[in-house]
Amino acid sequence: MPFVAATRSLGRAGLFSLAVLRASVPTRDFLAELVREIYKIGARSLPIIAVGGAFVGLVLTLQGYRTLATFGASNSLSTLLGLSLYRELGPVLTGLLFIGRAGSSIAAELGLMRATDQITALGLMGIDPVRKAVAPRFWAAVLTVPLLTAFFCSFAIAASYLEAVHVIGLDAGYFWSALKDNVDFVDDYCVAFLKSAVFGGTAALVAAYVGYHAEPTIEGTSVATTRAVVNASLLMLMLNFVMSALLFQ
């Protein structure tokens, strides 16, 4: 029965997540692994996030201006940009880009570790593979995705400013003041980073689960990578809806 199988699969994933949390002990080795993972999935995702953010900012400005101008409300452009960026586009798009770049690499790396017997070797050496390989990646994701979202929003706002003020010709002072007035620190800014942390954590857990349990073959690793990206993306979009419904009254 597919329903039973799906429920069991979900249960296994939940137990795996619990094991990851339980295995997170801040020893020196753990922190060294954590730093390494922050580099691999955080710092190296920076280019894609920066470029993505800039272009999202540009297109938001472009399309937003076109529509607002017909209502004579083009001064609300920066408000539109700020609110849509912090509330939805920033966390979600950063999350999706992160899943595509870092989520797939987490799944691939763990799948490869499974295929080359690294996970078995760790177990036979008496080292918990979840503690050594999975937990650092999880915490690196929880830490870096909010930071990447910050970069995304910075580049989006900067690009938007350049287009709005220097290309379209809106007033610079009004751009910043409208932005500042309408973006709430707690309700928009903080919520954006809370969302990002949740997205990063779930993306890492999904990718790690799929990669860790991949078939120990080349084909298994490639299947795992694709599944990780698809499942993590869908789960993230669902979580986004739930969080938005709960956090935005």
Binding site: Y39, K40, T144, L147, C153, A178, F185, D188, Y189, Q249
Partner: protein, 171 residues
């Protein structure tokens, strides 16, 4: 991996520093900076016959300066007018008793907010008291309809001090 050891640590450190810097810049340059979670505020109430587009968390302003927010909106089951609870920043605690409250809109598409006009009375409103003088929201469409179908005569304004064209105080 192409980076190892001390260069790895430097790269990660630089990444974290840049990220924290951008977080800070974003917070300062693009948010309203209301850091306080439970900034001390006191409550005032006001009754309106028509709220228009007013919603909770709408700002409360005096002369364009935000001094609080709308914390609650309920309907009085006896008199059937709306009771709006205003959370005013405790810094502005000496609002005169004859202060008036009106529901204004910031531009055609702007959000509704409550504008307070302080009176001249020596006595101040105590926390929990009700603002006596209120002006309900202007329903633009209704006004335009009345104007159009009354044959051009400007309709007798039943809204007190409010003029048909909504004022647009600069935020």
């Amino acid at each position: 991996m192409s980076v190892r050891g001390p260069r790895l640590e430097f790269a990660v450190g630089a990444f974290l520093l840049l990220a924290l810097a951008s977080l800070l810049v974003l917070a300062i340059a693009s948010t309203n900076g209301r850091w306080g979670f439970g900034q001390s505020s006191y409550e005032l109430k006001a009754r309106f016959t028509n709220l228009g587009q007013l919603r909770p968390s709408a700002p409360v302003k005096i002369g364009g300066v935000t001094i609080g927010t709308v914390s609650d909106i309920t309907l009085d089951p006896v008199k059937f007018d709306s009771v709006v609870t205003l959370a005013i920043d405790s810094r502005y605690k000496d609002l005169p008793i004859d202060t008036s409250a009106s529901i204004l809109t910031g531009g055609l598409l702007g959000e509704s907010y409550i504008g307070l006009q302080p009176g001249g009375d020596m006595e101040s409103l105590e926390p929990g008291e009700e603002i006596a003088f209120t002006t309900p929201a202007v329903d633009l469409i209704q006004m335009v309809g009345k104007y159009m179908f009354s044959g051009g005569k400007p309709a007798a304004s039943d809204n007190g001090a409010q003029s048909p064209d909504s004022t647009e105080p600069t935020p």
